[in-house]
Each structure stands twice: as structure tokens, then as C-alpha cells.
């Protein structure tokens, strides 16, 4: 019996240094873990390749952070997700850092013959959108409502988990048309045709970024956010097709 106890203690003692090493790894120059909206994939990777990124739908990232995911920074494609975490005390005060617009994309071959957004109503079409909880999915519903086209939601054949999944389905020609951000459309511009959405129908797409409260490296996380807000960060975002953050803080 005493031997069993000794073995147990031995195993416990042996694991302690391992855990300590793991914590010590989180030093100043270690890469941060940045949870960012899927639409930021190219922009963030180009801007700072030295960090560890997890790109997904902002809603999925919000749920992961809520469940204790080890993120240092959270960059969301909608204020809703960051603000909910802020109210729950899970992130520090979020700041707006960029903006975006929506576009309709169709495959180059354009099998459904979509030339304008209104063709979605008159023609049979396999429409791909993001799920309603995904920021771009919510923005899609707004655009269609503003244009009086809510009925075309009946032609949706798939609700994807993030904007990149929508882009992929259209670029591959599986779907006939899909609503994405203009920045995502640029990433696959050789495979798709972009149909512009009029300015009056555009939703207010505002991106927010925040330090995750449980981060073990909050100073570095704040420094990353400052670099995104700096002229260099804003230029990188602009080059990827993003819009400057709206001045009036709301």
C-alpha cells in the first residue's frame, strides 16, 4: 500500500516540472495566440507572420474563449461578439480597428447567369451563405432585407461556418452565388466574378479587437493591438482591401 502511494507521488512529482516548463514558455518574445475572424486570414498573416493564429467564424471563436480557450487577442468581424465577452469580463475593453463591405460572388463560369443581385430573385440559383450567428451571415440578412430580397433566403443550399467556407464553395463552382466580404472576394479573384452591392444597402461592418482577460501575456497582447492600430497596421489592412475604422466611436 505504501508503495502504491509512493508511485502515485512519484508520478505527481514528475509532472510538476513539465507543467512549470509549459508556463515558463509564455515569455515576452514567445508568439501570441491570436483568435481572429476568418476574413482577416490573409491580412493578419501578411502583417505579422510571427504569431500563432486561429482563424474561424467570430461566433465560434467567442464560444471557444467563453469555454476557456488560451487566446491572448480576439479580433472579431462584429462588435456583438467582442462586446458580449467584454460584458462577461472575459476580454478587456474592445476597440474598433477596421471596417469592411459585402459583395456577391459567382463562379467565373457563372452557371446560373447571375449579373445583378436582383437576378437572385428571378433565376434558379444555389445560394451559399454563412450561418445566421456568423457575422457575415448576419450582415447578409441585413443586405437582403435592405434590398427587399429577403425571399431569396429560400434559395440557400448551405449555411457555412465562416466566410472562407462560403468563398471556397463558390470558387470551386459548387455553389452558384455567395455573399462574402469584398476582401475575401479579392483572395479568389481569379476564380470568381464580383458583383457589387450598392452603398445604400451595405451593412455597417465594424471589426473590434480586444485583449483576452485570462491571457498570461497581456502586455504583448496590447502591443500587438497597438501595432494593428498603428499606421503600419492600418496600411496592411488597407492593402488587403479593408476600410479605415469609422472615426466616431459608437
Amino acid at each position: 500500500m505504501r508503495n502504491r502511494l509512493a508511485a502515485l507521488l512519484l508520478v505527481l512529482v514528475a509532472t510538476v516540472p513539465l507543467a512549470a516548463t509549459a508556463t515558463a514558455g509564455q515569455q515576452a518574445n514567445a508568439p501570441l495566440t491570436i483568435y481572429a475572424a476568418a476574413s482577416l486570414t490573409d491580412a493578419f498573416r501578411t502583417f505579422d507572420a510571427g504569431q500563432n493564429y486561429s482563424f474561424a467564424g467570430s461566433n465560434a471563436l467567442e464560444t471557444q474563449i467563453r469555454n476557456g480557450a488560451p487566446a491572448d487577442v480576439f479580433a472579431s468581424a462584429a462588435p456583438l461578439n467582442t462586446q458580449r465577452l467584454f460584458r462577461a469580463g472575459l476580454v478587456e475593453k474592445p476597440v474598433t480597428f477596421t471596417a469592411n463591405r459585402l459583395a456577391l460572388i459567382v463562379p467565373r463560369a457563372n452557371p446560373a447567369g447571375i449579373r445583378t443581385i436582383y437576378d437572385l430573385r428571378s433565376k434558379p440559383v444555389k445560394l451559399v451563405v454563412a450561418g445566421p450567428a456568423v457575422p457575415v451571415g448576419g450582415y447578409t440578412i441585413t443586405v437582403l432585407r435592405k434590398m427587399g430580397l429577403s425571399s431569396v433566403l429560400g434559395k440557400v443550399v448551405s449555411r457555412e461556418s465562416d466566410v472562407r467556407a462560403v468563398t471556397g464553395k463558390i470558387a470551386l463552382g459548387q455553389g452558384d452565388a455567395g455573399f462574402v466580404y469584398v476582401t475575401d472576394a479579392r483572395a479568389v479573384s481569379d476564380q470568381v466574378t464580383v458583383i457589387r452591392i450598392p452603398a445604400w444597402a451595405q451593412p455597417r461592418v465594424r471589426y473590434e479587437i480586444a485583449v483576452v482577460a485570462r491571457s498570461s501575456n497581456r502586455a504583448a497582447a496590447r502591443a500587438f493591438i497597438n501595432s494593428v492600430l498603428s499606421a503600419r497596421g492600418q496600411t496592411a489592412l488597407k492593402n488587403a482591401g479593408f476600410l479605415p475604422a469609422p472615426k466616431a466611436a459608437s
Binding site: A60, G131, A133, S158, R159, Q174
Partner: protein, 273 residues
């Protein structure tokens, strides 16, 4: 003594690690709420889609997989190894690769896409696409087990039947099939379990739409950040189904008496061959 203690401890850690996530699914939400969450439209629709697509897949797998397995098991050429490897490949392929492969083959811009379009067949985002994805990932589980089942039949029995004047079809139907039945059943159960849980290839190839292509696994993924309770409830259903299937494989292997088919996941018996 120290060895036994270490063994004991390691086993405890391993079992706790494997059991804890399963227990957590049931522990986080009280049973009555779990049942109530199953009443939501999303969960009900997913259950119907999963049942329908998997039933069709199973029919296809049995109808094509059984003759294929028999053919493979009764060959002894170099070709056989190549064929078996081909059959086993989807077993180890990452689901994302399976999804890409299906898109490249049956997608609208894929290899067969043009031909299918010429015949007016468009499977993009339909239940046919779900069936294809499920069949692709699940069938190797059946074929592999079925090959082993046919191979383990005592070769003197079919040849005795042949010398007594039975034709090849009769030998297959009256000798080989009944003798391999236990192994075939176990293989079918494993394929079914894999098919029910199929996720990656489906979401890439068939998309996800409630009531059409959204299976139970896809519903878990979507509900995960919409309504965690519903996601847990659907997960619980999947755990129960998977557990039942594994248990039935073990029972099947007890029930079959004559054959010596090695069955994966069956209780190991110390009998030697």
C-alpha cells in the same frame, strides 16, 4: 509491488481520460433538459437526415461491398494487395482530404461533373452528396472486415461443396455467406457507426443546411455556438448510438459460433488458431 501500482495508476489515468469527456456530455445538462433539447427542430431534422442518408449508404455498402469483399478474398494475386490497399485508403485519409477528393471527382467542376451535368444530374448540396460522403468514408470498414470474414472460412468447406456439384453461386450463397455472417454483421455495424459520425467530408462536399444536408454531427458543430445545450443533447444521442453499435459488435461475435473470423473491437478470446 511498485510495478503493479504503476500499472494500476496508468490504467486509471487512461480510463479516466477516455471516460471523462463522455461523462461530461451527460453531466453538464440534466437529463430532462437533454431530452427537451432533442425536441428542437434542428435536432429532429438532423436525426431524420442522418437516418435517411445512412440507411441508403448501408444498402449501397452491403450491395456492392459484399461481392467486392468476396472477390478480393478468393483471389491470391499481386493485384489483391493493390486492391486491398485501395479499399483501406479512405480508412486512414484525413476527412478533409476525402472531402477535397469527392469535390474533385463529383463536384460541378470535377472530373465527372461535366458528364453528370450532361445527363441533368446535379448533386451539389443534395442528400445524394451526403450519401456519397458517408459511403466513401464508411464502406472500407465493412469491406475490410468482410474480406477477413470470407478469408477465415475453412477452405475445405467450399471445395467440398464444389466436388458435390454445387455451382459457384450456390457455394457463395449456401456456404460462404452463412459462415461469414458474423464477420459481415460486425463489419456492417462498424461502417454504420463511422457513417453516423461522418463530418469532415460531408461539410466540405455537401454543405450544411438544416433539414436537407445537416446530419447529427454537422448539427453539433452548428449548435455549438448557437445553443450549447442542443449541441450536448445531440452529442449524447451520438454517444448512445456509438456505444450501442460497439456493444452489438461484441454480442455478434459471441452469437456467431462456427466461423473463426477475427473481428475488430470484439472481446479478445485467448483461443489460438
Amino acid at each position: 509491488m511498485l510495478f503493479r501500482a504503476t500499472l494500476f495508476l496508468a490504467t486509471g489515468v487512461a480510463l479516466a481520460f477516455l471516460a471523462l469527456p463522455v461523462i461530461a456530455i451527460f453531466a453538464r445538462v440534466p437529463p430532462d433538459e437533454l431530452v427537451a433539447s432533442l425536441g428542437t427542430e434542428a435536432a429532429k431534422d438532423a436525426l431524420v437526415v442522418t437516418a435517411k442518408t445512412n440507411a441508403i449508404s448501408m444498402v449501397l455498402i452491403l450491395a456492392f461491398g459484399t461481392p467486392a469483399a468476396y472477390w478480393i478474398a478468393t483471389r491470391s494475386s499481386r493485384l489483391r494487395d493493390a486492391v486491398v490497399t485501395l479499399v483501406e485508403l479512405p480508412l486512414v485519409l484525413p476527412p478533409a482530404v476525402a472531402g477535397i477528393g469527392l469535390l474533385a471527382a463529383f463536384g460541378r467542376l470535377g472530373l465527372l461533373g461535366g458528364t453528370m451535368e450532361a445527363f441533368g444530374i446535379d448533386i451539389a448540396f443534395t442528400q445524394v452528396a451526403v450519401v456519397l460522403a458517408v459511403t466513401f468514408v464508411a464502406s472500407p470498414f465493412y469491406v475490410r472486415t468482410a474480406v477477413a470474414a470470407f478469408e477465415s472460412i475453412d477452405p475445405t468447406l467450399p471445395s467440398a461443396a464444389r466436388t458435390l456439384g454445387a455451382g459457384p453461386a450456390r457455394v457463395f450463397g449456401r456456404i460462404s455467406l452463412p459462415l461469414a455472417a458474423g464477420g459481415l454483421g460486425a463489419g456492417a455495424a462498424l461502417a454504420f457507426a463511422r457513417g453516423i459520425g461522418e463530418f469532415g467530408a460531408t461539410i466540405m462536399f455537401a454543405g450544411s443546411l438544416q433539414g436537407t444536408t445537416q446530419t447529427l454531427s454537422l448539427a453539433v458543430y452548428e449548435q455549438f455556438d448557437l445553443d450549447f445545450d442542443v449541441a450536448l443533447a445531440i452529442s449524447a444521442v451520438l454517444v448512445v448510438i456509438s456505444g450501442t453499435v460497439l456493444l452489438s459488435v461484441k454480442l455478434l461475435s459471441r452469437w456467431r459460433s462456427g466461423s473463426t473470423t477475427p473481428i475488430p473491437f470484439a472481446p479478445s478470446t485467448p483461443t489460438s488458431r
